[in-house]
């Protein structure tokens, strides 16, 4: 289980998180939604120690991680993988070697064995035919699929997906949705998914948390969101230009 308890974070005098509390139950798929710049990426990066909170507590399976040193996060990061919003593939190596790297470093595999394992992972996201390409030579959507494959190589129990379907064509996007759902249903993987993609949100989420002005505006099921009369929620859920949400 993952718990964020009253988490605060500011950069300089710009307050991004002003007391965020949320829980990810084991095996569930929780979506974080909110407009661009709402602090969704900042929030999820706290979980793997890439950003440290100014206040509040984050618990990973009951263990408080706010006071962790950088070294303490390494075991956690093997169990909790992250797909970055901008894919962040290593652009000096092929797609195959990107995916092979965690295998080589953590499973003490030789380069050949690691590449073999990586190829299987690439096939999972239907990218094996481009294995020898460099990240710079392919489009955003394809890069994202490789980033997903790379994050899943160590069979994590928790996965953070930061906008996994942004930039993907609708078919690939639904494929990623199905993958997230499948990880949860078949392997009991918990996912924390940042998304703007309404079809993903309402197709996959067990629970949805909406961030607004540094706080949780609503935390509920997709049904709760559809039924909400809160004008901010309604505007977001229906994708309307007009409404109370300031740009």
């Amino acid at each position: 289980m993952i718990e964020f308890i009253d988490v605060h974070k500011a950069f300089g005098d710009k307050v991004v998180l002003a007391g965020v509390t949320l829980t990810v139950e084991p095996g569930s798929v929780v979506f974080i939604i909110g407009k661009s710049g709402a602090g969704k990426s900042v929030l999820v990066k706290h979980l793997v120690g890439l950003i440290r909170p100014d206040g509040g507590e984050i618990r990973f399976e009951g263990q408080a991680i706010s006071a962790f040193a950088e070294r303490d996060f390494y075991p956690l990061r093997k169990r909790c993988a992250m797909v970055f919003q901008h894919s962040t593939l290593f652009d000096s190596m092929t797609l195959l070697d990107n995916v092979a790297l965690p295998l080589r470093k953590h499973q003490r595999l030789g380069q050949a064995a690691a590449r073999e394992g990586a190829m299987a992972r690439l096939a999972q996201v239907r990218m094996d035919h481009l294995a020898q390409r460099m990240p710079g030579d392919i489009g955003d959507g394809l890069r994202k699929r490789v980033a997903i494959a790379r994050a899943l190589t160590l069979d994590p129990e928790y996965v953070i997906f930061d906008e996994p379907t942004t930039g993907l064509d609708p078919v690939s996007a639904r494929h990623v949705d199905a993958l997230i759902r499948q990880l949860s249903d078949e392997l009991g993987v918990s996912s924390l998914v940042v998304s703007h993609d309404l079809r993903s949100i309402f197709g996959v989420a067990d629970r949805i948390v909406m961030l607004y002005q540094g706080k949780v505006r609503l935390d509920g099921t997709p049904g709760d969101f559809r039924a909400s009369v809160d004008p901010v929620i309604r505007q977001f859920v229906r994708g309307l230009a007009e409404g109370p949400m300031e740009l």
């Binding site: 990066k45 793997v48 120690g49 000096s92 953590h106 160590l154």
Partner: protein, 255 residues
Amino acid sequence: MGLVARVGAWFLGIAAVVGQLTLFAGQVARATLRPRLDGLETWHNLYRVGVKSLPIVAVTALFAGAITVVQVGAYVVKLRAYEVVGWGFGFSVFREIGPLLIGLMFSGRVGANNTAELGTMTVTEQVDALRALAIDPIDYLVMPRVFAMLAMMAALTVIGDVAAIVGGVATAYGLIGVDPYVFWNSFTEYVALADFLNGLAKSTVFGLLIGVVSCGFGLNVRGGAPGVGRAVNASVVASAVGIFVVDYFLTWLLQ
């Protein structure tokens, strides 16, 4: 801003950079206690550093040797002391000019490139992505690079010394008509192994310095592409200053 405030701000800026680099050097030092040099990355970096720097180092050394002979040449001709050309050349090039010039060229070529690469990786979150994969950037990125730069500076100094001799011999022969045999004899008679090792030790320390400084500036980049540009600039300047300061102390120490 008043002058005092500006000088104060400048001084604080320097202190912050020095502090940051010192912390970083401490991290690198700690990482050497649990050596887990990534084999693939190390080979990759040795190769890249070598290929990048070999041509410019060879050319620099060739001309450094030649220029030294030109400088010494005027006196040699005036005093008819042809048998000291090799000595004057060898002593200054091997001990001082060689390591210094090679170090500065190396920093401008390899160090700058390294800061740019690590800086770009930092601002594009590739370094964070490594951390998120539970791979320590110090172990995986920094250690192989520092090792490669240290090893390559040593190797390049040996090659540079040879190139300098070629440049020196050719110039002595062409410019002041010193026979290569005479040159070689005075060189081997007066220039001891100690001079060569002295220069080699200096170069190796310069390699270590350039490695730590260029990686430190690269990983501490903030603020996108302009930040990378600033870091590359600062890295080259800091390496050059560091080389001269370290050179001063080493020259004094290794006498």
